[in-house]
Point group: C2
Chain length 187, copies 2
């Protein structure tokens, strides 16, 4: 039932129906269910639409937990995969664009998807500070932006930018090492 409703919304979006014209009534008709069935599961159009976006995006990856470095690579890699998919998938691209033009949907997406992902990233960094992998003299929220910012710039803000294999590892390792030239080892 839930799947049929989500696919109904996707079908309407693929047909080019703008988000603003997607009423619960029209979704119910397309999915072949009653309006009550939709309201039993979702409190409104915004929450339903966030689940549609989630279904279109690749699922969040499991963290390996072997090290902060490995967990960060997996977190950045899922941003890279989402970027690649939104370049190749017309539906996902369209869904993201529609979302940004609707402040209510954007807020729901932010609260239900973006904020929990960010909290997870900050938690990984805190573990890294505790186990000695990450410096402790910089605010963990800023550290998160230093790791995530470059990947979001490439995947979201610069839709024409390269997202090559190995980019996640390169970002994490380069940031850990620092951008100053590596001094030659002492003789």
């Amino acid at each position: 039932m839930e799947r049929a409703i989500i696919e109904g919304v996707m079908k309407l979006l693929e047909e080019g129906v703008p988000l603003a014209e997607l009423s619960i009534e029209r979704i119910a008709r397309t999915a072949g269910v009653g309006k009550a069935a939709i309201y039993r599961r979702w409190s409104g159009k915004e929450e339903l639409f966030v689940d549609v976006v989630r279904a279109a995006e690749p699922p969040d990856a499991e963290l390996p937990g072997t090290s902060m470095r490995d967990d960060l690579v997996v977190l950045l890699e899922s941003l890279r995969q989402r970027g690649l998919l939104s370049r190749s998938s017309a539906i996902l691209h369209n869904v993201h664009a529609q979302m940004k033009s609707s402040p209510k949907v954007w807020t729901a997406y932010h609260n239900l998807v973006v904020a929990p992902r960010r909290r997870l990233g900050v938690e990984v960094l805190r573990r890294g500070q505790r186990n000695g992998e990450l410096r402790e003299d910089v605010d963990v929220e800023l550290l998160n932006d230093l790791f995530v910012g470059p990947m979001l710039l490439r995947s979201v803000m610069r839709p024409d930018a390269d997202l090559p294999d190995g980019l996640s590892e390169q970002i994490v390792d380069t940031l850990l090492e620092g951008l100053r030239p590596v001094s030659s080892p002492p003789p």
Copy 2:
């Protein structure tokens, strides 16, 4: 004359006229000039609108040229100042939102403003690689994203994020030093 035309567009935007409804004719009427005067200076609405955005934004800063580090701080500082202004200025905020919803204007803004700024940043980094301030084993385009990404994440993508004084210096210096804990000096 040019100033009157740009102020005419700003006045219409402040009144809440959407970009899509801003015709050259209406702009000419508001500014009290003829349409020909507008077309003598701008090839179309898109180029004119980019100049309106430029007039609303703080001007690009002069690079001190004392070191790559100092130039980078100035480049990030101008992104921070633009972020602060778009939080406090309803016009600028509105202008940015309108721009993003119009692919033609966004492309013009990208070609005339964003791309030259990016080229300048890459040039600063190349100088840093030549004079030994920046590692040479990482692609300069990626290095640019590492410095600029965190500030854009804060200033553009997270409009509720903090943009405190000193943030530009902190980003540049933290990235140069690296995110690994600083090892204790040899005895």
